[in-house]
């Protein structure tokens, strides 16, 4: 029983990271209709920036977090403005390919600027071991779970109540009609990219706290992708939950079956789910009236 509990709790902690990255995927998909293949790389870059800041301010957690957030905002805005906006109105395929090119650039730039060694992100917090009953978790694990909950709440309110959130849904539904309403798609895209970059960055920093910064970090993008599909490509909140489900499923598969199954658990879960609901657990079924 304790074993199961341990597996589930650590699964949720991993899943929370997947969830955050997955929300970033869904956010961009919803606003722009694109799958951003550079999501994991964006997360990695922010983590590296956080590490650089941590090295110069000798581990003041607030400075590091603040700096990383600012960096992720700049990164998101810059990518949207410099790379994505010129592609506005071009075929979706070509635009998705651009994000793949972007991924290559960011990945190599990380190694160009920093190095190939893994490094510990030390912000003077996050590594303490906290005991919940008999289960030991690191404080950063608790923090990432709380952050996911917070992000879920924040995005729920954003889409429901904020004008820009509703406009984002409108753009997702019909971009030209949204234009006719005076909604500037470019602005919505900028908001989506920035928000996505910020949550990816947060996930990156947590991941760095828990597993060090390393040039392998971009894998989190591919790992989180099933979560987005599980939750529904266009469902930001669903993707967040999807991450947790995948995280727990992975841990249970590795814990009870064999560690080697872990890698494909997420994919098996989504194939099974797509057989039942072809548009994701929380995705919106395309409304087609003929």
């Amino acid at each position: 029983m304790q074993y199961l509990l341990d597996q589930v709790i650590s699964g949720i902690a991993v899943g929370a990271i997947y969830g955050l990255v997955a929300m970033g995927f869904a956010l961009i998909y919803k606003a722009t209709g694109l799958v951003n293949f550079a999501q994991g790389e964006m997360s990695m870059i922010t983590a590296y920036i956080a590490w650089s800041i941590a090295g110069t301010v000798s581990g003041n957690p607030w400075l590091v977090v603040g700096g990383a957030l600012a960096a992720s905002v700049v990164l998101g805005l810059a990518i949207e403005r410099v790379v994505m906006r010129p592609m506005l109105g071009e075929p979706v395929f070509a635009t998705v390919m651009v994000t793949i090119g972007l991924a290559v650039v960011l990945r190599s730039a990380t190694l160009l600027i920093w190095d190939a060694y893994p490094h510990a992100l030390d912000i003077g917090a996050g590594r303490e071991i906290v005991h919940i009953g008999d289960t030991g978790v690191r404080s950063a694990q608790l923090a990432v779970m709380a952050t996911l909950l917070l992000a879920l709440g924040a995005f729920w309110a954003f889409f429901r109540y904020s004008r820009i959130g509703k406009a984002m849904r409108a753009v997702a539904a019909d971009e030209r009609a949204a234009k006719l309403m005076g909604i500037s798609a470019a602005r919505i895209h900028a908001v989506a990219w920035t928000a996505s970059s910020v949550i990816a960055g947060i996930a990156g920093v947590f991941s760095a706290l828990l597993y060090d910064v390393s040039p392998n970090m971009f894998h989190v993008g591919l790992k989180s992708f099933p979560a987005t599909i599980l939750g529904g490509l266009d469902s930001v909140l669903g993707s967040g939950f999807g991450g947790v489900i995948i995280g727990v499923a992975e841990n249970l598969a590795a814990g009870y079956l064999a560690p080697s199954v872990k890698e494909i658990t997420g994919f098996i879960v989504i194939i099974a789910m797509l057989m039942i609901r072809p548009f994701g657990l929380f995705g919106e079924r395309e409304i087609e009236r003929v």
């Binding site: 509703k166 409108a170 997702a172 539904a173 019909d174 030209r176 309403m181 005076g182 409304i287």
Partner: protein, 289 residues
């Protein structure tokens, strides 16, 4: 219905009644010698000039593919979507050159379009669709305008929380018009509002259009295939064929014209159409352009 029209006018205009009376009426549109090309190869519109005066209802008639929707897209600044480009010509709205303006700037100037096929935000509720129409307005104004829209279309008030994609075609058209009104426009361009609707629903929609024009002073540019219906409420009309204006005149003139009667209103002079007549008309059209 007419009893509530006064507050409606107050709420819908962007500057309130004072401004409305103080200034000259807004909502004039002038398109001069417009040429639009798609994909730098296909010419969709050539040398088109139309003029809409404030407070008028102007009908733009034409068959499928004549260039009606292209003209509206050019006016609203959304041509770029399909690789369309204005090669030459000028569009001015209320004396402002809007040829190169972006869609949101044009909306801010008070020109709203109700696109062909409604194009609602299907997964959004009716209320949220209306909110999006008033994207450029502030919250207080939105509440007032929403009341007006619900007054014009009581049905929408009942359905305000429903997902708009699941509404009937008529209701969707109401949402589309209501959504446009939320921006508080002076000028409304409607692209085939009767398309695919039952006659009784068309009747209702047209009643509202007339009311918007008469009671609220909105200028209306009505793009239609349904010529009879459109000329029934229009002051003036243009006929566009293969990207060119081939005929224009007051509604009465248009209705009297033999060719228009024959090809747009389905009334033949002799009662029988002969091939020779068609050829004659085609030649005339070419000559006119």
């Amino acid at each position: 219905m007419s009893a509530t029209s006064v507050p409606a006018e107050t709420a819908l205009s962007r500057d309130g009644p004072q401004a409305q009376t103080a200034q000259a009426r807004r909502g004039s549109l002038e398109v001069r010698n417009l040429q639009v090309v798609y994909g730098s190869a296909i010419e969709a519109i050539r040398d088109v000039s139309i003029e809409v005066e404030p407070g008028q209802i102007v009908a733009l008639l034409g068959s499928n593919g004549a260039g009606k929707s292209t003209l509206l897209k050019a006016i609203s600044g959304v041509l770029g979507e399909e690789e369309g480009k204005i090669e030459s010509g000028v569009i001015s709205y209320d004396g402002v050159d809007v040829t190169a303006r972006s869609a949101d700037e044009i909306v801010r100037l008070g020109l709203m379009q109700v696109p062909e096929g409604r194009r609602l935000f299907a997964p959004l509720s009716v209320d949220e669709n209306l909110d999006m129409g008033g994207y450029i307005a502030d919250t207080r104004t939105l509440a007032k305008r929403r009341a007006v829209v619900f007054e014009l279309f009581p049905r929408l008030a009942e359905r305000r929380r429903q997902i708009s994609g699941y509404l009937s075609g008529g209701e969707q058209q109401m949402v589309a018009i209501g959504r446009a009104l939320m921006a508080g426009p002076d000028f409304l361009a409607l692209d085939e509002p009767s398309l695919g609707l039952a006659p009784i629903v068309i009747e209702q929609i047209y009643a509202v259009i007339r009311r918007l024009n008469r009671d609220l002073g909105l200028t209306v540019l009505l793009v239609e295939q349904n010529a009879q219906r459109a000329l029934g409420i229009a002051n003036y009309g243009y006929i566009i064929e293969r990207g060119r204006i081939v005929f224009d005149g007051t509604a009465a003139q248009l209705e009297k014209n033999a060719d228009v009667r024959e090809f747009y209103l389905g009334v033949s002079g002799s009662g029988q159409k002969s091939l020779r007549d068609v050829k004659h008309y085609k030649r005339r059209k070419r000559w006119l352009s």
